[in-house]
Symmetry: C2
Subunit: 297 residues, 2 copies
């Protein structure tokens, strides 16, 4: 970027000292004073041009929003609250100051929606416009704030399996505009016994498999219970149920817990053994096979 | 990378639960239990192929080492101790599992040298080998551990200005192999009144200017006191003193504090007003002009 120092100066005007932030961007490191009773959660996630977004189509505000919200979705997946974020930008040579500001505005606004300030960062520019593409990396810090973090490893046989919303077809636009399910996760974990949880980034079939592997159990999904998003119905190619099982980037939560949780959609249950299965009209088959029927057929 | 899941499986075998780490990589987020009396420090820093290293020349172990050590150098610059790190890799298409493992080994070994475990991360692969280059992003978490973090903003008139070692010519190799000055910073801040500090990544002329601007003071450097690294003497082009003032990537510390600190090298003093000046044979001129004499001449 031509005006890298201008951008850093701009970013510094956007900082505010609040909550746990003692010192925000501008020194070697940010300083936080964290609440002593909390567990601290931390993660990092990047979005890459041509992989997670397409800078030739998507406006920078939405790219920034997605980068921040993917991290906030990880906070949701553990039923935590966000504390602060840091952002690292790798900009193509020739990026304008205006573009960088719009990208940052998307990041900041998404964080602000959940009281998550950006407290630090790093900006670099690739040496050549032809070989370096935009990468946006976000670090998220979170806090348990009175709710024990929900891991992937606690699912037990006979738990029910739930999702928080309809699935599939997010590529039509929701992968950029989703809202992290932080409030939903906090409400669920406060009211009910939630035994394991993950956010649906890779698709129900793969992400539920993660929960099962970490928990040492299996799961069976009832195809008739899977909520299919209207976006998946409208799209060509694979069937709506296949899209709901495997499209990914829904950023709804998938969790296991006690039966009878009315605030989420029950889609199946935890079983002994391993593997993730789907039942359609009483016939049980491996869910990955169903999800990728067309891809491998 | 062809074996991304293999790499993640490898990384998980490298994790260990120790100190503040409650849950390391493998869930949505890592969980830390931080010591309640500490301030928490956090920063992020990336290295980009073609900017901070050259993957066609430098082995991946040294690239990983540099990425981690730049962050540990930020910890040193605040006289803190590292708590944990997270790593995000953006890999060119076609990166081999072996290459990724070597990169990670460099990161891990550098962290281990300062008891800084890697507790989480993210790995992505660019869609096209021709347009996505290697980026290594490291997040560092630190703790004050009984020493008030030294900011950039505390320099006072009549403080002396110090550096911790000889400067210039790091491009000959030291920019990859330096050792973060964490132990030196802790020893100095424990024994003496250190008023401001920064690590020398951009070169003495620019980094000292950062300290002065943040502190609202000026500084004057005595050219005869600046320690010049043998690497800067051996190199062609600019003069050794110019290299010592402006080459950057020394990763020594520059700090201000009370007179008479024998464990560091006094190079000048803090003055009222603003600007960073250099005195050579009694003649005072702006240090940036001296540093860039040839570049702008």
């Amino acid at each position: 970027m031509s005006g890298e120092f201008d951008f850093i100066a701009h970013v510094r005007t956007q900082q505010h000292i609040a909550g746990p932030v003692v010192l925000a961007a501008g020194d070697d490191l940010a300083i936080l004073k964290l609440f002593e009773l909390d567990a601290t959660l931390v993660g990092i996630d990047q979005v890459l041009d041509g992989v997670h977004f397409d800078s030739s189509i998507h406006p920078p505000e939405l790219i920034g929003r997605k980068a921040m919200n993917r991290n906030l979705s990880d906070i949701a997946a553990m039923a935590a609250l966000p504390t602060a974020a840091l952002v690292s930008l790798a900009l193509p040579a020739g990026t304008t100051l205006d573009y960088a500001k719009r990208l940052y505005a998307g990041l900041k606004d998404a964080g602000n929606a959940f009281d998550c300030a950006i407290v630090g960062g790093d900006t670099g520019t690739w040496a050549s416009a032809s070989t370096g593409r935009l990468a946006v990396t976000v670090v998220i810090l979170g806090r348990s704030a009175g709710v024990t973090p929900v891991r992937r490893s606690g699912a037990r046989v006979d738990d029910h399996v739930y999702v928080t919303g309809p699935l599939g077809g997010s590529i039509a636009g929701r992968h950029l505009t989703f809202v992290p399910r932080i409030r939903e996760a906090r409400a669920l974990a406060t009211r009910y016994k939630i035994t394991s949880m993950i956010d649906l980034s890779d698709g129900l079939s793969r992400d539920l498999a993660h929960l099962c592997i970490e928990s040492g159990v299996g799961a069976v999904i009832d195809a008739s219970l899977v909520p299919i998003h209207i976006d998946a119905v409208a799209m060509k190619g694979r069937s709506p149920i296949e899209r709901a099982l495997s499209d990914g980037e829904d950023y709804e939560l998938c969790f296991t817990g006690e039966p009878g949780i009315a605030e989420a959609i029950c889609v199946g249950r935890v079983i002994a053994g391993d593997g993730v299965w789907i039942e359609t009209d009483g016939r049980r088959e491996p869910m990955m096979a169903k999800a990728f029927e067309h891809a491998i057929g």
